[in-house]
Amino acid sequence: MKSIRSTSLALICFLVAACGGAGDSGPVASVLHRALSSDPESLDPQKIRSVQAGEILRDIGEGLVGYTATGELIPAAAESWTVSDDGLSYTFTIRSDARWSNGDTVTAEHFAFGLRRLVDPATAAFNAFLVADIVNAGAITSGEAGPEALGVEAVDDRTLIITLAQPTPYFLNLLTYPSTFPVHPDAVAEHGEAFARAGNLLSNGAYKLDGWEPGSVLDLSRNEQYWNNAATAIDEVRHHVLTQEMTQLNRYRAGELHITSSVPPDSFQQVREEMSDELHIAPQLGVYYYGFNLTKPPFKDNPALREALSMAIDRDVLVTRITGRGEEPAYSWVPPGVDNYEPRRFNYAEEDQGERNAHARRLLQEAGYGPDNPLQIELRYNTSDTEQRIALAVQSMWNEVLGVETTLINEEFQVLLANMRQQEVTQVFRSSWIGDYNDAHTFLSIMESDNASNMPGYSNEEFDSLMQSADEQTGAKPRRLYLEEAERILLADHPVIPLYFYVSKHLVSPDVVGWGDNVLDYHYSQHLSLAPNDATP
């Protein structure tokens, strides 16, 4: 027995010693612990596409313009700018004290370099479309012209002129996107494709990249060379890569995280009750929708049927009982809170659900379906608890109100995407759209006939021409009218069923000061500080 006893003793000692390791306190620097829902695919500004990559880059990089914590546009690396009367020429003056993390000055040429890289087909940038309005951007991306032909010019070290092919009122918003951030040409020359790795990466933002453990954590520390370094309160930021929402919640509750990127749906009730002052819910520029495949029966050329299905869904029940995270039910396509815009609504938006159900039944009959000819359709969605619950709820609603038999098909995300694009097998599919910038255009443009992200295959000449006209306007008012009219037509055609508008949900520790809710869900670490009595976790 002695051998067994001594082994057990050793084991217990090991466990105790291991427990003693927890709760190490580091140096006095303030450290912010944030959650990131997945690894960025890259930190090369022109190669990114994901929200997560954007989050990191907003901390380690800076564009010409930026946002405040509450979402107002402000100068960033550019201290001022002027716009020509025809809206086609933007002249930026770069700050004289803008620096890279190695001490070099940030010049206008660095911005131009970044933008040319963005449209250069050799970079194969996902977000090249953001700057499609710059002169020659399209020609360069399709290979007809070289990157030097791009309508950006660094007149001198501090002056950058960008020329557009058509007036784009939201152009400044586009320049907040990390894909337009500058790149130090020397870094690319020296390290080639590897210039974006920790150790090589030069940062012109508030923080620099110290290390990146894929699948685990990204470590950022203060960039002393940053022109506004004095205003940066937090010394180190650690972005923890945590794909499971439950794990984020657990770690937050255990005091290991200051900020989560989301809240698990199943725990939402509990979180709302127990941690209501730490829970931040804010409208976000995104719409969750079910799309119809308009290229094939039964939904091709059948607006009455589409409208019936759209009306029969009780969106209030969806957002209160099924998702229950403070989402806004959607009776329009463009979300509320978009700059300079008033979304149109479905004509049935004012009816109550009982009236809508009756109306829907009539429409269904008109479309030729009924108890002796029941409608049988397929609903595709991607694997996720939330998606599943919503699909089950909608299936049940369509069944009860309209007698429609819906087969649910749960597909892996990649598979669903492929199917949506091919438009062969889909009938009704789940999708969503997050706005790229704070303007109605980002939502309406994807419904243009030639837009690659037009999953339903919607094609309406009047809609297209209204969008075209809107693009040509220089004045904000007429442009807005065109866009609103376009949305009205879109809604009347029912190519999609918008279900709800996204909300961002974060748990933010009471120790964090300076958090601002905004519709883009951008939260720069440099705007935050940690309350003095708990600087170290």
Partner: protein, 307 residues
Amino acid sequence: MLRYALLRLLGAIPTLLLVIVLAFLMVHAAPGGPFDDERVLPPETRAALEAAYDLDEPLHQQLLGYLSRLVRGDMGPSYRYRDHTVSELIGNAFPVSLKLGAMAMLLAIVIGVAAGSLAALRRNTLVDRAVMVLAMTGISIPVFVIAPVLVLFLAVNLNWLPAGWSGNEGAARFVLPVVALALPQIAYIARLTRASMIDVLASDFVRTARAQGLGTSAIVRYHALKPAMLPVLSYMGPAIAAILTGSVVVEEIFGIPGLGQFFVRGALNRDYTLVLGIVIFYATLVVLLNLVVDLLYSAIDPRIRRR
């Protein structure tokens, strides 16, 4: 012995090749690709990306290209982590999984053998039944239930241990994942040991030893333990596979950047090179490990003669 080892290794190569081809075909068979997203790519961008990653070549050409690079030790860039190579990702993830797995295995053996021996010695008493019931619980409750329950009580509510992996230093962050991973194996090993120990204790030479007046602990230590461990040793192969499987769950739940996590995400992201790299790496590793286990087995029991 060396010849045997070498022959075994050589014999494994054709199978490894088969594994690579199979995995390659399967990943490419899955619909969707590494660059798909809701925001559909403009055709020029898609063309440029596919050219950069050789995805526009016919499949057999891609396979040959991959194999020729593999022979030179180059597993290629990751499609999803565009700033990292597959070798690098595996190089970072493997030590983590290794530590986790090794500690779980060690814990499982130590506690499993101890518990099983105890149960065998105190056969049919309360202790025996208690140990066996606990063992059975370990087998019948899936890891993805045990782990979150442990996290909830020990980390979140009582704050005794860290709830996650990243950003925590020290051995403390290993405790919960290792325990969760080890529990089912503790159960199996305890059962195996108990059964085998009972047999051994009833055998002639043990009875002789007892007749000669040797005490129980001496008998266990010097006579019974080694032969009783034989079935445990031959369980090592399946045990390693089981820990590998379990690690996928545990890594997911605790956010541990191990090979299991990277594999699942790689498969879902269609990160072809990463997936292939991990499959090959693991297959090679397991072949080597099994060889080691076999050699150990014959070292312990010299009665085994290889054909």
